[in-house]
Symmetry: C2
Subunit: 340 residues, 2 copies
């Protein structure tokens, strides 16, 4: 019943060569004469042989599997990132073992342990904070860790992000140019580098024009929190006339709350700017002005970084930040002097 798996030995017998010959034919970079290659290929074909990756992993210590730790799959940015990462890695012969983790340090710890058991060649964490202790241990084990869309101040880690500080600054400048003076910020989670950097860039950007944030509330990258923050902001004698929201995911909640709960118009009553430029931001229902994170370049850089460090065996922490453009849509007014 059990269709026994074909091994290299069986192929060897049928081809009339040694088992090592078979192995060499299927090992890129090994030497074999044209004649044996032909014989082995034929026999393998006939038997339907495929090398056993597990056995190969045992020997070489390389699994060609990358562990991906991911947290917020309800934010459209991450499925998208997952898809791109998976495809890019597949292209290079790697595959993705997915772990979901809430953002509690213990859970992440546990997940990373598990990951190491699987002999993954590298780890990518998407918006998940990793204690530097943990990355040290991974590095000691020769396993590169790259943080995608998150950074860790001070720690010696690999990180690929967009230029969040600059992004925040761009938003500030743009909103000032649009004539706004009471600009609030529902920030990304303060425990995340992205959240902090965007907030900082925003504050700096306003300061450069002699302004100050009207109010800042931590939205925790959470829809409900962002909605509540919106209510709190607007329930004031001097509500903001523009809100920069820490990411698109929250911005949608903010827009929903403003329009359907508070009955306000966007951008007439309040202008909204997000961050990420997920596909949903371009849908007409939201049509959200936002800072685009250059997903393709970020993914490419992440994949290159992991693979380079796997190949070189050296892990010299690197960090990259890509600049992303501000995409203007109808959730904001035209800047002064550009009205149509």
């Amino acid at each position: 019943m059990e269709h026994a798996r074909i091994t290299s030995l069986q192929v060897a017998e049928r081809a009339g060569v040694s088992q090592s010959a078979v192995s060499r034919v299927f090992t890129p970079g090994a030497s074999a004469s044209a004649k044996t290659i032909a014989k082995v290929r034929k026999a393998a074909e006939e038997l339907g042989y495929r090398p056993n990756r597990v056995a190969r992993t045992m020997i070489t210590g390389k699994s060609r599997i990358i562990g991906l730790v991911v947290a917020y799959l309800d934010n459209q940015f991450y499925p998208q990132a997952l898809e791109h990462l998976s495809n890019a890695l597949q292209e290079k012969g790697y595959h993705v073992l997915v772990f979901t983790a809430t953002n509690s340090p213990e859970k992440v710890e546990e997940v990373m342990r598990d990951l190491l058991d699987f002999q993954v060649d590298g780890i990518i964490t998407a918006s998940v904070a990793v204690t530097s202790d943990l990355t040290v241990r991974c590095n000691a084990a020769g396993i590169p860790v790259v943080m995608f869309n998150r950074d860790q101040d001070g720690a010696d880690v690999n990180a690929v992000t967009s230029d969040n500080v600059n992004g925040g600054r761009k938003v500030a400048e743009f909103l000032v140019q649009c004539g706004h003076r009471r600009i609030a910020h529902i920030s990304g989670w303060d425990g995340s580098s992205t959240g902090r950097d965007r907030r900082r860039g925003f504050s700096e950007g306003l300061a450069a024009h002699g302004h100050k944030p009207h109010q800042i509330i931590d939205g925790m990258y959470n829809r409900d929190t962002a909605s509540q923050a919106t209510r709190d902001l607007m329930d004031s004698l001097t509500p903001p006339d523009a809100i920069f929201v820490g990411n698109d995911h929250m911005a949608f909640a903010v827009m929903d709350t403003l329009r359907h709960e508070l009955g306000l118009k966007i951008p007439q009553d309040v202008a909204i700017v997000g961050f990420d430029d997920v596909p949903l931001a371009a849908w007409p229902s939201y049509d959200l002005t936002t800072v685009r994170q250059p997903l393709n370049r970020m993914v490419e850089a992440t994949v290159d970084m992991v693979i380079a460090q796997i190949d070189e065996g050296v892990i010299a922490p690197r960090r990259v930040a890509f600049d992303g453009p501000l995409i203007r849509r109808s959730s904001t007014r035209q800047p002064k002097g550009q009205e149509t």
Copy 2:
């Protein structure tokens, strides 16, 4: 430099027992005295030993990895499914190796081959059609394949879906009750069982009340196609007064097109019903009436099915379809006699 991995042998030496003893301590169901267990646990703790899953896989033939083949990550339903599946499997000690595949048979073929190389214990395909030839080969290799949210007529495969026929029927009945008479359908891809079943249920449901579909267009589960279909439907002397859309993902595009391109009101001018009940459907911007696919139960059933077949070793094709409720929201009117 290279922090060598700790092996069971080193633990054995430190604990003063044989390597087999160590193995047995870490193998559930193996026998060892309380004393050795203590000694081994202690030594393992001190050295930071963790059993090597790859070596274990070599011996047992079980990797505790499930391959997940997924296609449409831009439809929110699938990230959600992915997250739930991953969590449910993690809970049972399994992990998920993700493969993305376009829905071309060749690509799927290639992906499944790869998957087998990794010695996965089972395969879950999410909305991906698998040739029965392929499942036969997997079964021959003793690897269960479960299709999630898709079925294959006639073939001997495992499938977990919601009751799509009945769901379509419910929509038809509801829309008739609301007083609609020109009810169109932008159907799910005709090459998918879900698309066909929903369409069939819808047609049957209308027929049961003596009605007929106003018009049916294949939306291919694609936003652009659905938008175009919407334009085509509405550009008529007798446009529909209600549209049942094959899934939420397309329904959002339809709503966007109706409102922002054609300037129509929902549900006053046209009522819209979707299918899936993704989180986005509950957001106030859409507030879409839709048939809920009972994700939790579907995931649970899928996981149970895979694991049962792994454990039993027997692969007796099973198929389950869960009934899902119609969730009424403001994209449709109140049914006759229930107006407030």
